[in-house]
């Protein structure tokens, strides 16, 4: 069978879709049930920023194994080969709807998008660059939380990125936080929650405690527990935005902060 005829099935409703159309036209959103599937940082970049406007920064950063944690080096090598990335995050400068902004986009394929020293450093540099150049900041989060294999060093990235957010905000600059599936743990408990405006994709799983911790809870949980819809209901989110409308929403929001 020809590659163009290859089909993919929706993870949620199982509907079959031609692969190319599903990726290029539908942007990995199921036209049947609206389920937003994972997308890579590169795909998301193409979705959100003006063509040819992205200037990548700090892409030479890579993770080390400072704690000599079991199997960590092997996992890093495996995911670098899989994603074509050196780390779990793309960061740089770009234009969105003509507005210049600093932008960072996570990639869940890289050790679950967990945040270690590299993500902390790249996010911090991205925020500092925005502060220096007096630019608004967009961070598209996708994260399985803090990276176990970097221990307390990973934990400290929460304090580091949050402090950078404060400086950016105190400079009178605008920060839009976009939460995508999944965003958990230390990311949610630091920079991802410090946006002046926080939006999320439909159905995105967002929360503090990870699935293992939640599995140990012996209480009835609502069906939409730890989803974008749950956060909106509890006043923790400004809006749920369909993937296809994200760029125009960011453009509209950036208008507010333009001089």
């Amino acid at each position: 069978m020809a590659a163009t005829m290859e089909s993919v099935s929706c993870r949620k409703c199982d509907a079959q879709h031609p692969k190319l159309e599903f990726i290029k036209k539908n942007r990995r959103v199921c036209p049947e049930c609206n389920h937003h599937h994972f997308m890579s940082a590169f795909e998301r970049l193409e979705l959100l920023v003006d063509d040819g406007s992205f200037e990548s920064h700090d892409d030479g950063l890579f993770s080390l194994d400072p704690l000599e944690f079991p199997d960590y080096v092997e996992k890093l090598e495996r995911d670098a080969a899989k994603t074509g990335l050196k780390s779990e995050l793309l960061a740089g400068l770009a234009k969105v709807g003509g507005h210049p902004a600093a932008i960072a986009i996570g990639d869940v394929g890289f050790i679950g998008g967990t945040c270690g020293s590299v993500m902390g450093e790249k996010v911090t540099r991205c925020i500092e660059r925005a502060t220096d150049k007096e630019l608004p900041l967009i961070i598209v989060s996708v994260s399985g939380g803090m990276r176990m294999q970097e221990g307390t060093l990973a934990l400290m990235q929460m304090a580091k990125t949050a402090a950078a957010c404060v400086k950016h905000s105190e400079a009178g600059l605008f920060f839009i936080s976009v939460l995508t599936d999944p965003t958990f743990g230390g990311a949610t408990a630091s920079f991802s929650s410090l946006g002046h405006v926080i939006v999320a994709e439909p159905g995105a799983r967002i929360g503090f405690a990870g699935p293992l911790a939640i599995a140990s809870i012996r209480e009835k949980l609502p069906d939409n527990f730890q989803t974008a819809e749950f956060l909106l209901e509890h006043g923790l989110l400004d809006r749920i935005v369909h993937r296809s409308e994200m760029r125009s929403l960011l453009t509209d929001l950036l208008e507010f902060s333009s001089p």
Binding site: M146, M148, L153, A162
Partner: protein, 321 residues
């Protein structure tokens, strides 16, 4: 195979009991001189303790940090904070007993304090949720941080929690956001912040009151990104069976964290742990706080905030091509 938690302490406790018994016997029989016997046992105990503590694994240390007789924040507060006035409630909906806050005097200074507590008996432990802090605890902490900033009060934080509480309600009330906002708040406070890790430093639940100008750590406290049991579940996909390996990998001890530049100073504990000589332990913590507070009070607010930023800015280990 992993040993039972705190099994290294058993022979020491037994010897300790023998000494106590012999002392009782000596009191009851003043005509008999058992002093040489007691002295020999005490010497034996001291050398056995020293030996046992030299061989502690990181997993042993995790259990030592959780020791139920370990002095808690309330012990330190009673020992060296004068006229404490507790501030209660987050001014939104609740008061968390797992994290207390207030105003007090330390030496000649008015200060604000934040303290996590686990409780010392079952009733207290239930009231304090075994030290798992709720969103309202973090929001109360933030309220007191703002107060400290407004009135120029140095902030002293005693950290001791297995982690931030997790359940339906905590997610509904924005546990993650409560923590994130504290990290931001502490980054901007224009007063000295001294953090003392006294027991368990459980992940973001600890960090939410642990961003400081000086982070001090008791010799046998631990501080990590997740409890080793949870880390075992996440990395090895098991029910916690790899917790000892996880504890080794996480490098959560005071020695580890001093090397990594995450803490500034280790406060040595009495031989056998802080619970073996509480008054010595509290004196040492007091001296350490005094030393650092006096130094920090010399620094003007702007420089303090910048130095705090730089302190966290440089934490992280990575390569760059």
């Amino acid at each position: 195979m992993q040993s039972k938690p705190l099994s290294f302490e058993k022979p020491l406790t037994e010897l300790d009991q023998q000494i106590t018994q012999l002392r009782g016997f000596a009191e009851a029989n003043p005509e008999l001189d058992v002093t040489p016997g007691i002295e020999a046992l005490e010497k034996n105990l001291a050398s056995l303790t020293k030996q046992a503590f030299q061989k502690l694994t990181r997993w042993d240390k995790v259990w030592l940090a959780r020791h139920e007789q370990r002095p808690q924040a309330s012990t330190y507060i009673r020992a060296f904070l004068d006229d404490p006035f507790e501030l209660r409630g987050d001014r939104l909906h609740a008061d968390d007993r797992a994290l207390i806050a207030g105003l007090a005097r330390f030496d000649d200074h008015s200060i604000a304090y934040l303290a996590q507590q686990k409780g010392t008996n079952l009733e207290e432990r239930q009231e304090m949720n075994f030290g798992y802090t709720h969103p309202e605890g973090y929001r109360k902490a933030r309220r007191v941080m703002k107060l400290a900033d407004k009135f120029g009060l140095p902030l002293i934080c005693f950290v001791d929690t297995p982690g931030a509480h997790f359940d339906r309600r905590s997610e509904e009330y924005g546990q993650a956001m409560a923590i994130a906002e504290n990290l931001a708040e502490m980054a901007s406070l224009r007063v000295p912040i001294i953090v003392v890790l006294i027991g368990e430093g459980g992940s973001g639940g600890a960090l939410a009151i642990a961003v400081g100008d000086r982070v001090l750590m008791m010799e046998h406290a631990v501080y990590c990104v997740a409890p080793p049991e949870a880390c075992s579940g996440i990395v090895w996909k098991d029910q916690g069976q790899h917790a000892p390996e996880a504890a080794e990998g996480l490098k959560p001890t005071a020695d580890d964290l001093l090397k990594l530049g995450i803490i500034d100073e280790i406060i040595p504990e009495p031989i056998g742990g802080a619970h073996r000589d509480v008054s010595l332990a509290t004196r040492r913590v007091k001296m350490a706080i005094r030393k650092h507070l006096n130094a920090l009070l010399e620094i003007d607010a702007e420089q303090l905030v910048q130095e705090r930023y730089d302190r966290y800015r440089k934490i992280g280990v990575y390569g760059e091509e």
